[in-house]
Amino acid sequence: MIRQLRNVPLTAMFGILVIVSYAVIAIFAPLIAPYPETAIVGMEYLPWSEEFLLGTDSLGRDMLSRLIYGARNTLGIALATTVIAFVIGCSVALLAVTLQGWVDQLISRMVDVMMSIPTLITSLLLLMIFGTSVLNLILIIALLFSTIVFRIARAVAMGVVVMDYVEAARIRGEGLLWIMFREILPNAATPLVAEFGLRFTFVFLTISALSFLGLGVQPPLADWGAMVRENASLITFGDLTPLLPAGAIALLTLAVNFIVDWMLHMSSGLKD
């Protein structure tokens, strides 16, 4: 195990380190943060000081505390969305592959159409219709990303469904659900796990972008994308503080990308 870890490239090590520390911050946010999430504790836009390590924001809330709580909200929402997208995408893909025929055709064509519009554009349209709440945000983004998950899961499962043991299970008279989740899913899971990391970063970036546009996570909840929007005017005065939440987003996606890059490199056989 230790020897294996030694072979991990520096970039992937960095990625693992970043993800672990984000998780710790997100889980223990109330213990780490010096002030409550939404409490106004001082004047607006105070500079960095001993009392407020990263200053205060446009309403006089402690920037550092909001960054820490932001980890919890932003990551939690993105993670929940990705999980839902995978549950929907994989289940429908397994159903399509197991049943084949017109069911498969119908779902595939529907997914083709949904994927022919950029995700951000569709989500803007849907958020206008259903209104901006955290629940709507999660469901809409999950639904849109489940189309991509469907494509990938379908491609993977297509290779599994032709195997003899699936045929054997069919002849044995196993039910649809058994074949989907006991025969196909376990054998299609490995590539889907790597895909999960990659999709998570896209979901994370999309939600942050929507929050930045003022259409995602709504105030007073602390969210990194929304925090950039709230304090952006400081940047033109040469203050870097509003870039910190954006940097936090960038650092996490970078960390996940480094790990995925390494995993792809591993699965390609360590050649190139």
């Binding site: 970039t11 083709d112 159409v113 022919s116 519009i117 950029p118 995700t119 951000l120 554009i121 569709t122 803007l124 349209l125 849907l126 958020l127 206008m128 219709i129 259903f130 209104g131 970063t201 970036l205 942050s208 972008a209 930045f212 546009l213 003022g214 259409l215 994308g225 950039v228 952006a232 940047i235 033109t236 005065f237 040469g238 870097l240 509003p242 870039l243 954006a246 940097g247 987003i249 960038a250 996606t253 970078l254 996940v256 990308n257 480094f258 890059d261 190139d272």
Partner: protein, 320 residues
């Protein structure tokens, strides 16, 4: 040749069909608004009489299919209807903004394409050296950054610290070209950074794939220098996949445009879309979504056709 033409016509037809379905979806989705458009507009001040009058005015009493056909027919003649918030002609609102967005996208493309292809060739030439490794890390980093992080980072450096470029890009129809270029430079650079990384990685990957082929080995064996092998022998064959990637990235740029325009207060289509979503200006959102979707479908179609034209094997796949 007729097989090629056939294939392309087939793709164009498929693209048009997709567009038709998308337009129907954009239209139908609004039917799911809680209440209807009339209730949305009037909000709290709605009385049964004003609601009925507005429904009459908007033609909401006719069946949806009829309304959809009328809407689509109008668009085909260049008439997107009127904004439900301020009653302005949508076509007039769109005209300027579409031009601005196209200007921004064109500028970003002109900077990004030579940069990406150049870096891609460099990375392929210097494969497995520290230059290649740093380009790899650099591009992965750029891919990971949210658009607004790149945008504000550039504002911080070039307008707040150095004071070279303006942080807000308000252009009007009477802005001189030279001013417009200066004003659009930062947004264009942001978009460039967003798309370059992907294009460059694909350029490198397709060149490296080609370098493994026997004819390249032949060129090496006859004593050609590495630079000559890459630029003269491999690159011409990599043009098709690279052009394909460029078309795909222009399509990808569409999402980036929305964010970048909001950051720089650039009066383009993306900003209009976001503003209209917050104001719930339903008809404008429909129009903007349709235009973005058409552009996306168009560039994907172009990428598709280019890859067909460039790869004879794809042409005969269906006949086998």
């Amino acid at each position: 040749m007729s097989a090629v033409l056939n294939m392309i016509l087939q793709r164009v037809f498929l693209g048009l069909l997709t567009l038709l379905v998308v337009s129907a979806l954009v239209f139908v989705s609004v039917e799911f608004l809680p209440g209807d458009v009339a209730e949305q507009i009037l909000g709290q001040s709605a009385t049964p009489e004003t609601l009925a009058a507005l429904r009459e005015q908007l033609g909401l009493n006719t069946p949806p299919v009829q309304r959809y056909l009328a809407w689509l027919g109008g668009i085909l003649q260049g008439d997107f209807g009127r904004s439900v918030i301020n009653q302005r002609e949508i076509t007039a609102i769109l005209a300027d903004r579409l031009g601005n967005t196209l200007f921004l996208a064109a500028m970003a493309t002109l900077i990004a394409v030579p940069l990406a292809v150049g870096l891609g060739i460099l990375a392929a030439l210097k494969r497995n050296t520290w230059i290649d490794r740093w380009i790899n890390i650099g591009t992965l980093t750029a891919i990971s950054f949210p658009e607004f992080f790149v945008a504000y980072g550039l504002i911080y450096v070039f307008s707040a610290k150095l004071g070279w470029l303006p942080s807000i890009s308000v252009v009007g129809s009477d802005t001189a070209l030279s001013d417009r270029l200066v004003l659009t430079l930062l947004p264009a650079l942001t978009l460039t950074l967003i798309v370059t990384a992907h294009m460059m990685r694909m350029t490198r990957a397709s060149l490296i794939n080609l370098l493994a082929l026997p004819y390249v080995e032949m060129a090496r064996l006859k004593g050609a220098a590495q630079r000559r092998v890459v630029v003269v022998h491999a690159l011409p064959n990599a043009v098709a996949p690279i052009v394909n990637v460029i078309a795909l990235n222009i399509a990808y740029m569409i999402a980036g445009v929305v964010i970048v325009e909001v950051v720089f207060v650039y009066p383009g289509l993306g900003q209009l879309l976001v503003d209209s979503v917050s104001k719930r200006d339903v008809t404008v959102v429909q129009a903007a979504c349709l235009i973005f979707a058409s552009a996306f479908i168009l560039f994907n179609l172009v990428a598709d056709v280019i890859s067909i034209l460039s790869n004879p094997r794809l042409l005969h796949r269906s006949t086998k």
